[in-house]
């Protein structure tokens, strides 16, 4: 096989000069190896997204082949006019802000703590990450029992200090309760990412700062935190992308209630797409979710994460 490249660093189009027969056989191999993945991907990932884009400008109940009743952007104008959708957007903002301002700093703090040489840190790590492997359904059902209004066990504990609440059943507390459950399940994931990021920082840098007389606080703020920048930016990115499509936990815990006060876009979409057979309208919601993710991802990579790629080499040089 003369078209095989020489090694990992071979440039993309530097196929070595080769007799045309060998070349053709190379293409056959490439085709055969690539085709199964490509077909599956086009059929079940790309096509559905194109169908959602297409269906979003039709009035369609989801049956009888492709939709035919073209209504332009009516689904979108209707969607943007509803209070439920505006609430969805608001809930997204609330959860993203809470995640970035509360959940991620806590995860970072705990990661820094478990980076110290304290006894049993392996066990702590294992335990803190464990909720991540439990399914959203297990988590959701467990907490819907614990947080049940009235005689739920959370009220029994917090009732001692007079902190009774209806938790998920009260529109005023439902978002905080949801966020509490999300934190229980996901902070360990972000903690692991931060731990991995921290371990990629050469210890010499931290030690040098310590020898120069930096207090632990100064070393953290001026050395560790800036060097963790790329890791933090990625964890924020993952958190936002996840929140845009948040579904499972909400569906199990509240079904979006009480009276839409914890509903997310994905919940609204399933509600209309499957329960009310308004597939065109539901597709419009899908398209909004898609556009949000895409715009966010592109903007984030353009304006926030690009520094990481550009600065990667020069920054190393600065510290040498």
């Amino acid at each position: 096989m003369t078209t095989l490249t020489r090694g990992p660093q071979a440039p993309a189009l530097a196929a070595p000069v080769s007799p045309s027969r060998g070349r053709r056989r190379g293409w056959v191999t490439i085709g055969l190896f690539l085709l199964p993945a490509l077909v599956l991907f086009l059929l079940l990932v790309v096509a559905p997204i194109l169908i959602a884009l297409y269906a979003s400008v039709f009035k369609w109940n989801g049956f009888g082949g492709l939709p035919k009743n073209f209504i332009g952007l009516d689904n979108f104008t209707r969607l943007f006019g509803t209070e439920v959708f505006r609430d969805d957007v608001w809930h997204l903002v609330v959860l993203v802000v809470l995640s970035v301002v509360v959940q991620l700093p806590i995860s970072l703090g705990i990661a820094m703590l478990l980076n110290q040489r304290i006894r049993g840190r392996t066990v702590y790590r294992l335990v803190f990450f464990a909720p991540y492997v439990l399914s959203e359904v297990i988590t959701g059902v467990l907490f819907s029992l614990i947080l049940s209004p009235g005689a739920g066990v959370a009220n029994r504990i917090l009732g001692v200090v007079g902190l009774n609440s209806d938790w998920l059943a009260d529109p005023d507390t439902v978002m905080l309760s949801l966020f509490l459950v999300m934190t229980w399940k996901y902070f360990g994931f972000h903690m692991m990412i931060y731990l991995a990021g921290r371990q990629n920082i050469p210890d010499e840098l931290i030690e040098a700062a310590q020898i120069d007389g930096g207090t632990p606080r100064q070393v953290f703020w001026h050395v560790t935190l800036p060097l963790l920048g790329p890791t933090i930016r990625i964890s924020v990115f993952l958190s936002v992308i996840y929140t845009i499509q948040l579904f499972d936990l909400v569906w199990i815990l509240t079904q979006g209630g009480p009276s839409h006060s914890s509903e997310t876009m994905a919940v609204t979409m399933l509600e209309f797409g499957f329960k009310r057979s308004q597939a065109g309208y539901a597709s419009a919601i899908s398209v909004v979710m898609f556009a949000l993710s895409l715009v966010f991802a592109l903007a984030y990579q353009r304006f926030v994460m690009r520094r990481d790629l550009e600065g990667a080499t020069t920054r190393m040089g600065d510290h040498r």
Binding site: L40, L43, L44, A52, I118, V137, W184, G197, M289
Partner: protein, 272 residues
């Protein structure tokens, strides 16, 4: 210079309690009757009531859901790892026109929220007659697992020195022979990592089986748990027992595969 670690331990203990108390509550609660659960929510069960657990274990649905979850997870994993390994091999070791474009197409898949596609997927699966069939879930999970799996495997395949490949080809190995007999065995750690990620993803998936299966016989564990909660809504202790039993396989798997899982997640996060 050692700072006292007591405050650090105190914080770790508080966080640990926050994580563990719900799980311990479920574990012990499963051994109480629901009446006991409301009079004695915190203490040890008195008397211990094993019937919640034994009833669930003696019932058909739990085992059927366990089997469905296992079968779908294993089949999805075999599918996605096989297809991704082939594709990642081409992306890592061949130079051809359009390679980066195709690779970008796959990695773009990382940004597509699955929820966006769920409705059209439902329509497509209905058209193909794959509703209420495990195959509908397996194929879809396989397709959505491709981007991350290809990304991780390509990175690993690239790190294997070209000299090994040249030696194999000089010895008369075909491209497939090199892939099958040399590359895959060398890539075992990476294959383990992506397999673990695929298994956990499939095991916990809820939205897809929710729309695919209307018939109870195909339900996976998450669907079964949700339904069980609805059916026994007044019998909290019994639901807790079901939850705990459903946690056992996931936590057991975590205990075995923790290294691969965490390694894969952090690699996927930092390279993706």
């Amino acid at each position: 210079m050692r700072r006292p670690t007591l405050p650090l331990h105190a914080i770790a203990w508080i966080v640990g309690a926050f994580i563990l108390i719900p799980v311990i509550y479920a574990l012990l609660g499963g051994f109480k009757s629901t009446a006991q659960l409301s009079t004695n929510p915190f203490g040890l069960p008195d008397p211990w009531v094993p019937s919640n657990y034994t009833d669930v274990l003696a019932d058909g649905p739990f085992w059927r859901q366990l089997w469905n979850s296992t079968f779908i997870a294993l089949a999805s994993t075999v599918l996605v790892v096989a297809l991704s390994a082939l594709a990642a091999f081409v992306f890592a070791r061949f130079a051809f026109r359009g390679r980066e474009l195709l690779f970008t197409l796959f990695t773009m898949g990382l940004m597509f929220p699955f929820a966006v596609a769920i409705l059209p997927i439902f329509v497509l699966l209905r058209t193909f007659g794959l509703l209420d069939s495990p195959l509908g879930v397996i194929l879809t999970q396989g397709a959505f697992g491709l981007p991350l799996t290809i990304l991780i495997l390509r990175g690993f395949f690239r790190s294997i020195p070209g000299e090994i490949e040249e030696a194999a080809i000089l010895d008369g190995c075909t491209a497939f022979g090199f892939f099958w007999r040399i590359l895959l065995p060398m890539a075992r750690p990476a294959l383990a990592t992506v397999s673990v990620l695929a298994i956990v993803g499939s095991w916990n998936n809820f939205m897809l089986p929710l729309v695919v299966f209307s018939d109870e016989s195909g339900w996976t564990l998450p669907l079964g748990i949700q339904q069980f909660q609805g059916q026994y809504s007044s019998d909290t202790a019994r639901i807790l027992a079901y939850l705990v039993l459903a946690m056992v396989p996931a936590l057991g798997f975590y205990a075995i595969a923790e290294r691969h899982l965490i390694g894969g997640l952090t690699a996927g996060a930092t390279k993706g």
